[in-house]
Symmetry: C2
Subunit: 352 residues, 2 copies
Amino acid sequence: MSDASRAVKICLLGFGNVGRRFCELVERKSGELAGDHGVRVLFAAVGTGSHGSLLAPDGLTAAEMLAVAHGGDIDLMLPDPPRPGTELIAAAGADVLVEATPLDPLGGHAAIEHIEAAFARGMDVVTVNKGPIAWDYRRLADIAAANGCGFRFEGTVMDGAPVFNMWESCLPGCRLLGFDAIFNATTNFILDAMGEGRSFADALTQTQADGYAESDPSHDIDGHDAAAKAAALANVLMDARITPDAVDKESVRDVTPERAAAARRAGRRLRVLCTAFAADLPAQRAAPGVRASVRLVELAPEHPFFAVGGSSLAVILHTDLMGDVEVAELAGLPEQTAFAVYSDLLALQRGR
Amino acid sequence: MSDASRAVKICLLGFGNVGRRFCELVERKSGELAGDHGVRVLFAAVGTGSHGSLLAPDGLTAAEMLAVAHGGDIDLMLPDPPRPGTELIAAAGADVLVEATPLDPLGGHAAIEHIEAAFARGMDVVTVNKGPIAWDYRRLADIAAANGCGFRFEGTVMDGAPVFNMWESCLPGCRLLGFDAIFNATTNFILDAMGEGRSFADALTQTQADGYAESDPSHDIDGHDAAAKAAALANVLMDARITPDAVDKESVRDVTPERAAAARRAGRRLRVLCTAFAADLPAQRAAPGVRASVRLVELAPEHPFFAVGGSSLAVILHTDLMGDVEVAELAGLPEQTAFAVYSDLLALQRGR
């Protein structure tokens, strides 16, 4: 560690797959963080729902923090009892909140509360929890701006594949006219299995057995996850000011074996497609002008998304100046969402 | 124009499709450039090979410059006789060289000379001419660094689709292990037509008639254009230090009607695929460690590039931290290369 490097203290809420892999990535990259970016990342607090908490206002290195956290991925145990996220935020004296708690599909209220508490203390925020961006982006972004805080959320859509950051850094002056996207991997797996001739129920069981669907999979199956991501993207890049409730949804439950078989015979693939478009383009508009939907479509091999199955995700951004630009993540993994936190953290440091 | 905006004077070499559309884009965006970026873009010199030149060291706005340039896309005529690029660079007193002269497939010597002349005067450089990046990147980048000059080249590969800029801004700390790409539109069109049952000669004639192939198309057909782009990407993102000569090439001339018919019957598509991979990953290596090739492949519908035809181009970046990330430009147009210059220009201003 060079003396010139600056400590950046993190309050990490949520220590599942993504949170833990983020710590591992920080540990692996600690030399590069200090040498190339002049940053020493320290953990001042870590909170979980039922696996304890850790409070260390002086800050632990990633290596120290991982040593304190006992056990493997499942048996994680932090030394102190669980505490509310807002309490940890208040006590940690951290510079950055990393919000990685599990999604609350009904509106992300806890995560929103965490983010507001962080902004109130002048902290920057990186969230991989999509709830706040899907349900309450405009208000939170305004609070961040008023308090001079950074607010980043690359990991909320398509894991770590650059979407928000690409738009911000690489497509200056473009207007987003709309987008098409495949944002949900679970339904990819289910529809892939149905494309091989299985019923919906069999396909779901298989996808659960393979670890790609939750025991309660309705959030994915009925389009809520995809709708939240579509709302997040529309809110940030199109100033849509919509919530996931406003997104028309179709469920893969409604795919009959007959429909799947007919698609297969025609050489097509069923996919859950997210679409958004600006229904009115004038700059001044009173009512929300973006329509978004999550629907079942049959794609021919000529469609750019025909090959987007399994844990691959993709978006086509329809822009005014740069035409149609596609970004895809092929075979995504939790490491890639952890990378999103890492890249957002570096973007915050560049912005300082 | 706000008083706070700063003049950025351009010396533009090459005033074809891209150069002209860049001027039109600057004109269209002049309010945004001043308001959002604090920049007034002025043209201090414009040079062409045979359509005259223009020298205005005080700088013309884009609107003034376009008014001075007579005629339409073809009949462009600038008021002064043609002058060597280096003479214009010396006389213009500009801040930024935009190198948009036609590619010299044999090594890009003229463009390299222009870029060196600009760096010698402390100017930043934006090039859409891929020659210098394909043939001489390392040396030019070192000169830029030694002279404190910016050096950007987004438009050299995949028009304005974010590749170099995405890597720089959005994938911090990643290592590029290799890439697969479709970088040449002309051969896409030819192979699309052969996929419909035409001979190579017929397909070429059709592609020329449609305006997607030059009257001397060998640069595209024999893989030189794709090899130059592959070398450029490998040189910048993998420190490959190779030239296009080092890229193994196959020509679409070698596709027999029988091979095309067999691919079609199998439901596959012929494509010209650029591939590069790090043959040795140790950080210290004496000899170039990147192998690159341009070869004919048959792609099944499951391949992400199956749908990449016509003027669509795509690359899959194989990274260590973020897995495989694909970027594609769907149905590219010259406006999009002009956008690359525009986004590079803004990136230079951010870096100042």
